[in-house]
Symmetry: C2
Subunit: 122 residues, 2 copies
DNA sequence: CGAACCCGTAACCGATGAGTTACGCTTTCG
DNA sequence: CGAAAGCGTAACTCATCGGTTACGGGTTCG
């Protein structure tokens, strides 16, 4: 049971600068798709597809409110990458013990995400 | 002064599963290119190019020894990504304080890397 | 010296990915 | 009810990327 599956999706997702900026934007608070799109020089459908990528790997969640779709960030999948990175700790227990806390967080939020998914597109 | 530049290269580098596996392989110890290549089902030149990508963003360093080129991993650039991830800490100071240690590490190793680069291809 | 070894690069190719415009659905509101 | 707003999707184009084979340069060794 490795995270390889999820890590693959998440690393691919954050490899794009636009998607990273979207996440940073959402860090300040939830936003409807329109508000997100107008912050970028690219077309709205382009942003919409970036949002889909982020959605499919659980980095954002959305709630349909009237005719607006509000997005909010979920850092849990990022923690899995942080977990992988932590495996490259210096000599022995350099960052290790500190980042181990992340792993705990991963397990904790894995439950939450399942619940979240049911709420999505609600 | 943001890491955006470096983070962009590093996230792109670790987005590929083969490159991540190379890093994991090198985590156990340095290896000549040949030894790395024979662990993968793809051709040797393909691995060689993956190594180049990893080299160009500082994730690996190489030393020319006779007719062999020995590679070793450098986790420092990964720390910059960890740093970025840490910015998505839960509510307030959930992982934050723990991952702050990473940032310190980033600064520390930035000097080292400059020295490393001079040694490369030596 | 010449053959074998180790490795990187060049040239080429199919797949993938990010961008665009056009379109359709649902919700709001005059 | 009909127009406008807010989103997502489809179809298409173009650049990038990862894979392959072919090749060349430096090193070891019989």
């Amino acid at each position: 049971m490795s995270y390889a599956f999820a890590v693959d999706d998440v690393t691919a997702a954050i490899a794009d600068p636009v998607r990273r900026q979207i996440l940073e934007l959402l860090r300040a608070g939830e936003l409807p798709a329109r508000r997100i799109a107008e912050r970028f020089p690219i077309s709205r459908p382009a942003v919409s597809r970036h949002l889909r990528v982020l959605r499919e790997c659980g980095l954002v969640h959305d709630t349909l409110t009237g005719r607006e779709r509000v997005y909010r960030v979920d850092p849990a999948p990022l923690a899995e990458v942080g977990d992988w990175i932590a495996g490259f700790a210096r000599p022995a227990g350099f960052w290790g013990p500190r980042l181990d806390a992340l792993e705990t967080e991963v397990h904790r939020t894995r439950r939450d995400r399942r619940a979240q998914r049911l709420e999505d597109t609600a």
